[in-house]
Symmetry: C2
Subunit: 312 residues, 2 copies
């Protein structure tokens, strides 16, 4: 049984109740406690030594990343984070200095977004260090965003630049909390999510959930300097466009909105967030699947269709 | 630096905000989102392979325990659990059957208390299996319970029977959600907590937080059958009374209330929960420290003062 099959078997068995608006399978759980204007968001995210960081990773970066990942999911709902709880699994011979510096990184990010660190449990492990962060947030009652709301004709946008996060961004990225709230307050957002598995992979989640297809414009994809540098300096690195399409942990926003709002959102964005790129990278199509257009024409980006972008 | 010193250094650095009513150091975090009648509770708890369970532990027991521990903290606040999120760290070569049976145990307990399992993330680990469960709950706005509210003269109560949890109870215990709500609705509870480190250790937390002392009555301590059996069958086991005082993971309620309510709570309890013991085990005193009285007199239960109860 694959992990995908396993999760597909488990999700329908999970107990629900009258308070649950959105459960497993979305970026955040949405809970309704009968409050007039507001719904609650809940999200947990874990980072594990040797998977999401190494014993060489600076401890403040681990703390930053552990909270930032969960906040990025709150951003994908254009939510307001309120409080978080931190569980830290430590081996018996842990370094107290790691823990102090871990909290420096985590606390600093929490302060930036006015998130209370409402509890910090440490627990013993005989295995690797792990961190699990749970975040409580809120959204206006009438503004539940989802992956499944993309419409044919929508323009597709990404914030920032993509690819090469592993060179450093994954330890210091800014979750797009304020940007997402601004977008949701000013524009009729359709599908929204945060980029964790790469543009091609995450866009596919939106397409599947919305039962539509998409066409990306190769020349429009914003490629990060880190991805370009990596391609230049490391012979085994992905070509930059492939990195921008498939590297994980960008933690930028991916969203779609009606084409009539495309120019307006780009103009408004420049005034609101002059230091951060917003790019229209393609459009939603009635024809299923994910395609990319470049000067040589248009081709399918199949699940294993990235060989075109490999170095010869 | 000891773990205690480390935590003492970290707690004052944790960011707070206007929503935070009670943060790190209590059983649950308490969050105020401006709702008229209600406050929110947040709690996470982790269980780790080789620490809280072994590779031989039946998977449904692991799932039950992972959720029940967090629910026991909600019970310590007499709260109503609403929803939980589950993070499951699994090695690459994990057994899908373990995961399915883990969720059987967890889901079954969630259904019993009408808790929605609002999300279930799995993540890779190169270490041991770990589970982190985050729970959202609610309490009435005017009913924040705490460890620090014990008053001189209070009668001290425990639910159930103590000791020997490791023989099986730790995998199947019932968090005292309903019992705690009933107590809080009908009686002026003072200090309340759930027993995770043993009566002597946890009562000491209440005494320190409330700046009082206590006297226990040896003959009143409700000793579990498991602790008695263990003492009888295993030469290296603790004597039963010592087990009841110091074994961890009882997950019963420990609380204090004014002496004038002691008889009334015992009578009401018998009618409300005829199958579960409630026992008055002692009283809160102005004199600091923890003492125990038996037929030979009264003696101090120092931090290392349990040698009296060892087998000769």
């Amino acid at each position: 049984m694959s992990e995908f099959e396993l999760i597909a078997r488990i999700i329908p068995t999970l107990p629900e109740n009258d308070s649950l608006v959105k459960g497993a399978g979305d970026d955040c759980a949405v809970v309704d406690l009968g409050r007039k204007d507001e719904l609650l968001l809940l999200k947990t995210d874990a980072v594990v030594e040797d998977v999401h960081f190494t014993s060489q990773t600076p401890a403040p970066g681990v703390g930053h990343k552990a909270l930032a990942r969960a906040l990025s999911d709150i951003a994908a709902m254009a939510g307001q984070p309120i409080a978080c709880l931190v569980t830290l699994g430590l081996p018996a011979e842990f370094d107290p200095d790691f823990v102090l510096k871990f909290y420096e990184g985590l606390n600093s990010l929490a302060r930036k977004y006015n998130v209370a660190v409402a509890g910090g449990e440490t627990t013993r492990t005989t295995g690797k260090i792990f961190v699990s962060v749970a975040v409580l947030g809120t959204i206006p009652r009438d503004r539940i965003l989802s992956r499944s709301a993309a419409k044919v004709g929508d323009a597709i946008f990404v914030t920032g630049e993509l690819g090469g996060s592993i060179s450093g961004k994954h330890l210091e990225f800014d979750p797009r909390i304020r940007e997402a709230q601004w977008l949701a307050e000013n524009f009729p957002l359709h599908a929204v999510m945060d980029l964790s598995d790469g543009l091609a992979g995450d866009l596919r989640h939106i397409l599947n959930a919305s039962q539509v297809g998409a066409e990306l414009l190769s020349s429009a994809i914003p490629i990060s300097r880190a991805a370009k540098l990596k391609a230049k300096n490391e012979s085994s690195a992905k070509p930059p466009l492939l990195a921008a399409l498939t590297d994980g942990e960008d933690f930028e926003l991916l969203f779609t909105l009606p084409p009539k709002d495309a120019v307006r959102v780009l103009d408004g964005w420049k005034a609101a967030f002059p230091k951060l790129k917003l790019t229209c990278v393609g459009k939603i199509s009635a024809e299923g699947g994910l395609r990319i257009r470049d000067k040589e024409g248009i081709r399918e980006l199949g699940l294993r269709g990235y060989t075109h972008f490999q170095k010869s």
